[in-house]
Symmetry: D3
C-alpha cells in the first residue's frame, strides 16, 4: 500500500470576487492552499493515501486549514499544532491584460517560524512510501530550508522515494542562493520536476544552443542531468505558451535515463492559473506510482494540469476518469448527463 | 386567437455558482425549467397565449415551479396538482475543456409517475390551436410516453396543430426503442423539429451518402420524409459546430414539401448551452404562426437560438424586437441607451 | 484508544437564505448532514476518533457528502459507495410565528435502499469501541431497520458499547410500530437517550401521574426502565420549553441505576433548532467516554446542546473549551480577543 | 365565480442588505410591490382570481414588474403599457432603534402621470365582482385621484363591490385634503378598512371621549359611520402596539351595522413591517367572500397580518392552511416535516 | 500645484449581476459614476488634486454618491447639496451578441434641474488650474448646457485651462443642436477630445475622402480644426474596432498644430466597456499636465483606456505604475507577487 | 474653524457572514477600521473637518484602507505611506451565548513598526485644533507608545486640545504597565474618556466603597481625579448592562470640576458591539466642540453610542439629525418616508 507525504505550508488565500480589485471589494472568498497540499489533494482525488507534513497555529484559522485539507481526504494527524499565525495571501483576480496581483503575509507564520526539533520523523514517515517537496520550501526562509533538507535525508534513510519540484520563484531568493541549494539537494532526489527554464537558469552546467529545437534542448539537458545525478530516475516538466491572457498552450515531457517522451500540446481557456504545476506533478506521480508507460504518464500529467486550469482554487478537483475523458476528447460540447 | 399548449415536465434546476464544482459549492442557484416550458416561455415573451400541460406536486416546490412559469405569462391553470416529488437536476457549470455535468433525480417525480386518467383533455385543450411535444417525453418512462401519445391523438381529434421536437437523448433510451416510437408518432405530426443526425440515426430509411454536401443531404432526407409522411407540413432543424467550448457556429434550415431554405451561419460566444434547441423551436413557431415567409422564419429561429445562448437559464428572455435587432446586426459594441 | 462509530444516513440539506420562503428564493445554501454524522462530527471536534457507517452514491453529490464529513475529521473509509441517489431535504427557514418547513426526498436514496449484505461488519467495526444509533434509522424503511438491528447485534458480539437515541418522529411511523421495534432493541442497548415524552409515549409500562413533579416522573420512569433492562447503564435526556419561537429553555438529566442528576436550566436565543439533540448526545458521550462525574457529564451535555443552537447547520462546531467556557459564564458581552 | 380587481401603482423596491445603510451598501435587493398588488397577491395565494388595474412603462423595468405580479398568479392582461418611468423607492432596512428609511422616486412614474382616458373600464371590469382601492391612490397626485374616483363610480355602475383602505399617510397630503376626498368617496364604498386613528383624524364628526375604553370607542365610532353611510356593509381595522422595535402586538376588529367583533391579540417578532395592513385586508376579504362568520373573518384577517410580518417583501406568501395553522397554535417549535 | 476640476452629473448605476437580464435579477450592484467623476477619479489615482463641480440631493443617495467620490480622493467640498432626486440608470450587463441595455432616470435629478445661480464660481474655481467638460452636459438639458457654457467662460476669465470631450450621444440630442452648441463652445476650449466620427459628423466643414487612409483623414481634419480654432492646443482621440463583442482593438492619436502622433494598436479582452473614453482623457491629461512628450502621452492615454476595459465599474482603478507596466508588456501570464 | 485629528492604527477587518464560524465560512466581508478612525468618521458625518495620523503600507491593502477612510470624508493626506503589512483581524460573528471571536495579526504591521522620526508634526498638526488618542496605542507596542506620547507633547506645544480614551484592554498589557503609562500621560490631557471600572482598576488612588451607589462612586472618583489633575477639563464615560447577549442597557455620565451629569438609560437591541465606545467619544466631542450644555452633550453622546449598536461595522453612520431624533423618541415603529 502506497502512502504519499508532502512537505510545505498551508496558507489562507483571500481572493477578490467578480474580477474586482482589492480596493473595490467588500469581501474576499477564502480557501486554504499550498503547493504540497495541492499535490496531495489531487492524489487523494485519484484514490491515494496521502499525508501532510506541516505546522498550523492552534486557532480557528489553523483549524479551518486543517479541515479544508481533511475534506480532500488528506491525513492531517501528523501536522504540528502551535505557533501564532497562519500564513495568508491576498489574490486580486486579474482580467485580460490586467495581471492578477498577490500580496503575501507569511513571513511570521507558524510554519515559516517552526523549528526542526518539533518534527517527529518516525511518526511523520510511518507507512510513508513517497514524499514530495517544492522549491518554495527552500526559498521562503532559512529554517524552513533546513527542515526540508532534514526531511529529505530522513526520507532517504527510510528508503522513501523523494520527489522535488524546482518551482523557482525569482521574487523569493536570488539565483545564486537557489543554485547553491539545489545543487546540494539534487543528489538526494529520485524524481525531479522542472521546466527547461528552471534547468537553464539554475543548473550552471546547462548551455543553451539557440539553433536547436525545443525537443533537442530538452533531450540534451536531460542526458546531462542524468549523467551527473545517477540517483535521479525521472524528470518531468511542461512548456507553456500564453496565446492570450486566458488562452494558453501546454505541452509536457517526461525523461528517464533511457528516453524522453513528449505529450501532445493542448490549447485551452484558463479559469485559474494557480496550481497548474502542482496538478502536473500529481498527474505524473499517478503514472509513476501505477507503473504506467511513460507516454500515458506524461499525457495524464499534462491533461491533469490542463483540467486544473478550469477549476477555481489552487487544488485540482479531477478524478482519474475526468482526466482520461479529457485525454480522449478534443473540443467539448457535451453536457455529461 | 391562437393559443399554444406544451406537454412536458417542469423540473427544478440546481446550479453551481462561479464555475465551482458540486463538491466545492456552498450553494446552488435555483430555476424551474423544462423543454416544453422553455418553448412556451419564449412564445409568451413574443406575445402569444400559452398553456402548460403537466403535473406538479402540492408542496412549496411544486408551487415554486408554477410561480416561475406564471412569471413568464404561461397559463398554469390546467396543470394537475398532486403526487410526491418535483423532478430535479443538479447542473455543475463547466468551463472550457471541463464539461458541464448533470445529475438527475426525476425518476419518481409527480409528472413521471402521473397517470393517463388524471388528464382532462377537454379542459386542457379548451381554446388551444397548437400543441408542442418533445422527444424526452417519449423516452423518460413508459407511462409518460403513453400519455404523450394519447395527448397527440386527442389533439388531432380537435384539429389542433401538433409539433414534435425529436431531441434524441441516447442516455434515456435505446435507438431501437426510439425508432419504434417515433415511427408510430410521425403519422400524427404536422411540424417536425429534427437535426440531420436525428434523422440519420432514427429513420431507418435514411441513407447517408458521404460524398454529398450538407445541403444536398438535408434536401434529399427532407424529400424522403415528406413523401413517406404526407401529414407533415414543415420540418426544421439546426447544425452546430463547436469551434471552441464556448464559441459555437449555428445554422438552421426549414423545409416544406416544396422547398428547403437555409439560414446564414452565426458564430457566437456561449453563456449557456441549455435551451438553445427550444429557442429555435419557439422562433420557428413564431414564423409559422405569423405566416411569415420561410426565409424570415428560419432566420428568426436561428437568431432566437443564438440569442438564447447569451441568457442564463433554460428559457429565452428575448422579445421579437431583440431578435430582429440581432438579425440585422453583426458584431456588437452598442450599449442600447 | 477509543473509536466511536455511528450508523445513519447522510443527506443533502438545501436551505433558503435570508428567511425567504422556498417560493421566493433564487438559491439554496447546501450542507451535508444526518443525526449520526452530527454526533460524530461533534465528537471529532472534541478530539475523538470517529467512523461513519453508511452508504453514498458514486457521483458528485455522494463525494460532496463524503468530503463534508471528512472535513470534520470523521473516518469515511468504510462507507459503502454505490446506488443512485443522495437523500435530500429542503429546509425553509422560518421566522417567529412562521415555522420552518422541511420537504424530504429520501425514500429512494442509496442508503435507504441499501442491502444488509453490502455491509462488511469486520471492516466496519475494526478498532471500534462504541457505536451510536438513532431512532430514525428504525423508522425510515424496513430494510434500514433490519440493517440497524443487525449492526447492533454485530456490535454486541464484539463487545462494542451501543448507544441509541430514541428521537421518535411521529411522521415517519406509527406509535405501535415504534413500540414494537424499540422493545425488541432495548435489551441490546447500553446507553439510551430519550425524553420523558419518548418514554411515556413509547414504553407501554410507563404511567404518568399528573400530580407528580417533572423530577419525580423522571426518577420513577428511570427506575422502571433500569429494572426491566438491566443491560442499560445510562439514560439521558432533555426537557425543552419554547418561551418564544427563538428563545428557549433547556434542562437535561442523566440517570444510572443508582441515581438521577439534573442540570441547570439555560435560557437562550436560537439561531438553528436542528441538531440540538445530537449535540446533547455528543456532550453526554464525551462525559461517559472520559469517565467524568455524572454532574459534569449532564452539564456538559446540555451546554453542548445550548451552544449548538447558536451554530448554523446541523452539526455542532464547539470544542471542549468553548463548552466549558459556556458552563462557567452566564450572560455574555465579551468579545474573545 | 368571483374575480377581485385592485387599483394602484406597482413600484420597484430597492432594499439594502444585511441591515446596511444606503451609504454602506454595494447592492440592493429588488422586488416589485404596491398596496393593491399586495392585496391581490395574497388573495391569489388563497386561490382567488385577481386582476390588476394599473399602468407600467414599456421597458425592462415595467416588464419585470408585470412578471413579478404574474408569478403570484395575478392577471396583468388589462394593465396599460406605456409612459416613461417605473416608480421606485429605496428602503434602508432599519435595526432596533434605528428606523427603516424610505426614499421615493415616483412623482414622474408612468402610473402617476397616466390619464383617465387611457383606462378602458369595460375591459378592465369584465367578469370582475369586487374591486379594492387604497388611500394612497387618492393622495399621490390629483389625476390619480380622479382616475380612482372614476374607477369607483364605474364599478358601482356595474354592481361591483367596492372596498377602500384609508391608509392615511400624513406625508403625502394634508388632513384637510384627505377629509375632503374621503367624505366624497365614502358614500360609494361597500367595505371600509380603517383604524380608530384614521376615523378620529379624518372623520370630522368623530369625537374621542378619553374616558372610554378602546372597545367602547370603536363601537361608538362604528355606529356613527354606519348611520351616516348606510351603503357601508363592513368596516374592519387593527390596533398595533410596538412593544419593542421588532416585537409588536396586533389586534383586529370587524364591524357591521349589527355588531362589532374583536380578535384576540397576538404578540410576535417582526421580520418586515411593510404590507401588514394589506395582508389584513386580504384576510378579511377572504372571510367576506367566503361568507364566513365575523369571528372567523377577523381572526383570519389578523392572523394573516401577523403571518405577513414574518415574510420578506411587501406581499404575503401565506396559503389559507398556513394562516389557519397559526390561528390554532400559539408558541411554535415545530419544524413542519 | 495643479488642481483639476470636472463638471458633470454623478449618477447611481444599478447593474444586474451574473449576466442576468433586468427581468431575471433579484438584485442590483450599485455604484456612483459619471464621466467627469471618472476622469477625476482616474487622475486622483495618478496622484493629482481633483475637485468635482456638481449638485447632489440632500438624502442618503446623494451622500452615498459623495462618499463614493471621496473614496477616490476627489474633493467634494464644493458640490452643491439640495434638490430632490439623484439621477440613476439601470445597466443590464450584456453577453456576446446580446448588447448591454441602459435605462435612464435622470431627467428630474437635482443636477439636471439645478440653476446657474446656485454655482459660486469663486469658491468652485479656487486654486483650480484645469477644468474638464463632457459633451453630455451640453446635451442632457438646456439649463445644464447654460451652466456648462457659463462654467467655461468663468474658467477662461480665471486663465484656467479648459478641456472638452465631445462624446456625442445621438440619443440625447439632434445633430443640428449638437453642431450649433459645439461651434459656439470650440472657440473657448484649449484641449479637445474627439474621434474622427465626432468631427466628421459634428463639424460641418469636415469632408471625408473615402480614398484616404485613416491616418491621412485624421491629419487633414486636425489641420483644419487647428486653423479654424487657433485657441486649441491639443486634440486627442481613439479609434475602436470591435473584433468580437468582448475582444476589441484600440488605437489613439494626439495632435498639436505642429504634428499628429499615433499610438500602437492594442487588442484586448473587455470586462466592461463603460468609462473607456474617460480613462483615455485622464491618461492624456496626465501626459499633458506632466509635460510629457506627445508619444508618451498618447501611448499612456491608450494604455490607460485599455486597462480600464479590465476594471468593473465606470472609473479606472489604475495607478501610473500599472499603466506603464502595461505599456511595456504585451501578453500577460505573470501573477504579480 | 475646528479641525480634529486622531492618532491610531487602521486595520483590515475580515468578518464571517450569516453568523458562520471561521471554520465554516467560504468568505469574509472586509472593512477598514480603527478606534481613532471610528471617532473621526463619526465626527465627519457630523460635519467636522478631521485628519488621520497613522501609517499605511504602500500596497493595495494600504490604499484600500486609505480609500475607506476618505469615503467618510477624513483627510488622509498626512498619513505616512510605507512599510510591509496592514494590520488585520478576523472577526467571527457570535450569536446569543456564543461570543464573537477575534484573531489579530497586527504585531508586524506598518503602523506598529513605524518609527517616531517618520512623523512630521508640523505638517500633521497644521490647522489642527483638537487631537484624540486611544489607550490601545499605548498598549500595542513600545514604539507606538513612544510615538503617542510624543504626539501628545507636540500637541500641547501647539495648544491643541488633547482627548484620551482609556479603553483598557487587559489582553494587551498588564495592569501595572497600564497604570504606569496612564499616570505619565494624564497630566497632559484635557479631556478624558473612561469608565468607572477603568478608573478603579487603573488609578491606584481610587477606593471603591461598596455601600455607595453608582452615582456616588462616580462623583467621588471625579472629584478625586479633578483635584489631582487640574489640567483635565472634562471626563465622560458609560456604564453598560448586558441584559441579554444582544439586548443591552447603556447610561452615560459627564463630569467637569464643577458638576457631574448623568444621561437617561437606554435599553436596545444590538446589531454590532464594536465601536460603541468610539461613538460615545464622538458624540461627547460634538457637544464639547459646539459648546453645548453638559446635559445635551452626555445625552447626545449616549444616543450616538446606542445608534452605533444598530450599524454594521466599527464606524457609526449617524448624522446629527439621526441622533437627535433618537434622543426624542423611545420605541420606534415609524418607517421614515
Amino acid at each position: 500500500m502506497q502512502k504519499i507525504a508532502g512537505f510545505g505550508e498551508i496558507m489562507q488565500r483571500l481572493m477578490t470576487q467578480k474580477y474586482q480589485t482589492i480596493e473595490q471589494t467588500q469581501g474576499f472568498d477564502v480557501m486554504y492552499t499550498g503547493t504540497a497540499l495541492n499535490v496531495l489533494a489531487s492524489l487523494a482525488y485519484f484514490g491515494y493515501d496521502t499525508r501532510m507534513i506541516s505546522k498550523l497555529p492552534e486557532n480557528a484559522l489553523g483549524f479551518a486549514a486543517r479541515s479544508a485539507a481533511q475534506s480532500f481526504g488528506v491525513d492531517m494527524s501528523r501536522v504540528i499544532i502551535g505557533g501564532d499565525y497562519l500564513g495568508l495571501y491576498f489574490l486580486e483576480q486579474g482580467f485580460g491584460v490586467r495581471p492578477s496581483k498577490v500580496i503575501y503575509n507569511r513571513e511570521h507564520s507558524a510554519f515559516v517560524t517552526s523549528h526542526l526539533d518539533e518534527y517527529d520523523w518516525d511518526a511523520i514517515y510511518q507507512d510513508v512510501t513517497h514524499v514530495h517537496f517544492c522549491g518554495i520550501s527552500f526559498a521562503v526562509a532559512e529554517n524552513v530550508r533546513n527542515i526540508a533538507v532534514a526531511a529529505i535525508k530522513q526520507a532517504k534513510e527510510r528508503d522513501i522515494v523523494v520527489s522535488l519540484d524546482f518551482n523557482y520563484r525569482p521574487g523569493l531568493w536570488s539565483k545564486e542562493e537557489a543554485i547553491d541549494v539545489y545543487l546540494g539537494v539534487l543528489p538526494l532526489v529520485d524524481i525531479c520536476f522542472a521546466n527547461q527554464r528552471d534547468f537553464s537558469e539554475l543548473l550552471p552546467f546547462s548551455v543553451i544552443d539557440e539553433t536547436e529545437s525545443y525537443e533537442q534542448m530538452i533531450e540534451k539537458t536531460m542526458q546531462d542531468v542524468f549523467s551527473r545525478y545517477p540517483n535521479i530516475q525521472l524528470i518531468a516538466g511542461t512548456k507553456r505558451l500564453v496565446l492570450e491572457p486566458t488562452f494558453h498552450q501546454l505541452q509536457g515531457f517526461i525523461a528517464t535515463p533511457a528516453t524522453v517522451v513528449f505529450s501532445k500540446a493542448y490549447q485551452f481557456d484558463v479559469l485559474e492559473r494557480i496550481g497548474g504545476g502542482d496538478a502536473f506533478v500529481a498527474g505524473v506521480l499517478h503514472g509513476y506510482l501505477g507503473e504506467e508507460p511513460l507516454s500515458y504518464t506524461v499525457e495524464f500529467g499534462v491533461a491533469s494540469s490542463v483540467y486544473k486550469h478550469t477549476i477555481l482554487g489552487d487544488s485540482n478537483r479531477a478524478r482519474i476518469s475526468d482526466i482520461e475523458k479529457l485525454m480522449k476528447s478534443s473540443k467539448n460540447d457535451m453536457i455529461e448527463r
